[in-house]
Symmetry: C2
Subunit: 188 residues, 2 copies
Amino acid sequence: MQATKRSIIDAANILFYQQGYDHTSFSRIADEIHISRGNFYHHFKSKDEILEAVLQVRMSHTCEMLNGWEKESDNALDCIRRFIQILDVNFDKIQSYGCPVGTLCTELGKLNHNAQEEANQVFVLFLDWLKKQFILLGHEKEAEHLAMHLLARSQGVATLAHAFQDRDFVMYEIQEMFDWLDNINEEE
Amino acid sequence: MQATKRSIIDAANILFYQQGYDHTSFSRIADEIHISRGNFYHHFKSKDEILEAVLQVRMSHTCEMLNGWEKESDNALDCIRRFIQILDVNFDKIQSYGCPVGTLCTELGKLNHNAQEEANQVFVLFLDWLKKQFILLGHEKEAEHLAMHLLARSQGVATLAHAFQDRDFVMYEIQEMFDWLDNINEEE
DNA sequence: CAAACATTAGGTCAATCATCCTAGATGTCA
DNA sequence: TGACATCTAGGATGATTGACCTAATGTTTG
């Protein structure tokens, strides 16, 4: 029971990222995990329901990742640096398919899909987490702005990295974000 | 001869932006301009050929816009400010559909479409133009980096504006980019 | 007016899509 | 072993897709 459903969600998660939600068919997912098409409807009533499940998995994975960063880091500054460095750590994937969060939100927005709001919640997870780190650094008032600013910059870098496949650019921008981070913490 | 072909391209241009390339069907375009489906193949051999035509239109429109900015501006600083301000000027569209350049490049990348490289060329137009302005401001060495940096930031802002429909955020980020622009020109 | 060409409408095609259905396989538990 | 729920395979469905074709209409030119 669990195994097949699980593998459907996992395969859909990857394919939605690599090919986009709309462009990924049941046949494509079925081929990937070697089950028949008709099998889907015992586990999900519709394609939307698979998307729902994928979004929930992404939410929980993101939570785990963010909690992991907090545990492995000495302080809030290190946490934020970890966030910035995902552009380097996940460069291969980003170069090939863009940011998994941003590209899905953009696609669902264009499709006028009901799940757009839910997809945005993954962004919100990052925003709240970043805001928390900036507050820990003593930026209570500007924390919201700083979080949005940094998320926007990483989104922009991911978009151009996907378009141009330019690693040097990404490394340069990471350094720029590190410098920016140092600057706002020197001002006191 | 011209009229129908022209209206197909114009309708496709808008729909590819609003709904995405893959998700826009011939029927949808035909309905929009009240022609029959079969009519397409007298003007275009395939859907890819329509995309090709749309990309050429976008290229020339972008060139005209950039040339216009140069003519209407007093100096390179004003030119760059104009670029930053499209986020405000086109806010309604960006809020609804994202950046027309970035979202198409991202989609074509995921579809592994041949025209991805050509779509990127619209980005290159902006990059070369920005680079030129930064050189005029005396930043020969860093012009390339500065152009990529600014384009990335505007892309990031557009992505989050589309996701969250937050005008205040956009206005705040525009001010941040203005400040950044002033800073790099004070340093001499 | 007539012949040559350009444009359009609408039907047809095979392929693919999400969805649904049923029959059989596999497991679980009395 | 037998009864019953769960799971799976694969075919059928109707809708939609990009592509193609032909007949009919405009338009231009000799």
